[in-house]
Symmetry: C2
């Protein structure tokens, strides 16, 4: 971040009055440019004891499996974001039934909100960001080919919950060592 | 948003390849500048059947009451953000015990994550952003002087939960008409 997005002048780093963190501040118009964590909204789509996974058609981790998930957009709710991502990446319609996990990834400034979603029908198809999409029983989940540690962790906790008949919210922080 | 924060050239609005939303894109270096919702992490600090509220010393809504809450920063977890805000605004130390509510405010691009926090001692004091801080029994909550509708809604649901002996996660979307 080098230039002010408001006036185009060079930015400097300083602690604004009343603040206690270094911020990017414009030397000309004095606008303060904050950086904040982003929300990734995801969904575990469920159908008859199976879950829907997508094989990524894009980098990073092209060719590996994940749940439908992506950056939340302005103007939508967290649940709407999860439903939209499921539609875009797996062409599937889900009804959100619960928030499964809130997983903080402070090393990359992201917070995953992973929902459970009941598929309205066993209809799905690869979206433009997926190579293929498929339903997996718990015993066939490709654990060694999951794209991201945070998704593996969300799925691991999900399988334990469902297997033991529990539904709970998971609050956790994942380090970059996971 | 008028200028590219990377190279300083003017921005144009267009839909990037593979996207379906208008974005701010640099006409020179082609950097895409995304805007995403921000997380506000908040805490309802609890002590002996009472809750801790802060009277705002800053705009907006100076002079009105709220829970400790603020924008999550890079490098912290959601729980750490709620603990930090409680320390900054009320000089109180809390242990997070549960996530009380995930409240989406799509009209202003915010998501409130409101936690329950057990105060480690009945020690508190106004931080620089608060005029005063105090413990309130449920019957003395100043409902008509709560700073923000989202905070009033979080507190309303909290009081019902505690009064009826429940602890549950609230998922809701608040419109600007609330």
């Amino acid at each position: 971040m080098n230039y002010c997005s408001q006036c185009g002048a060079p930015l400097i780093q300083k602690i604004p009055p009343g603040d206690n963190l270094l911020r990017h501040v414009c030397g000309q118009c004095e606008a303060i440019h904050y950086h904040n964590p982003k929300i990734v909204a995801g969904c575990i789509p469920e159908w008859a004891g199976q879950i829907l996974l997508c094989r990524r058609a894009i980098e990073p981790r092209r060719g590996l499996w994940t749940i439908p998930a992506g950056f939340m957009e302005l103007g939508e709710s967290t649940e709407e974001a999860a439903i939209r991502e499921t539609k875009e990446e797996a062409q599937a319609d889900v009804e959100i039934t619960a928030l499964h996990a809130v997983l903080s990834l402070p090393h990359i400034g992201q917070v995953y909100l992973v929902f459970r979603g009941r598929m309205r029908s066993p209809t799905y198809e690869a979206g433009t960001e997926s190579l293929e999409v498929g339903l997996f029983s718990f015993s066939s989940i490709p654990w060694e080919q999951i794209a991201f540690p945070v998704v593996r962790e969300a799925l691991r906790r999900y399988v334990i919950d469902v297997t033991t008949g529990r539904s709970q919210l998971h609050l956790a922080t994942l380090s970059d060592r996971l």
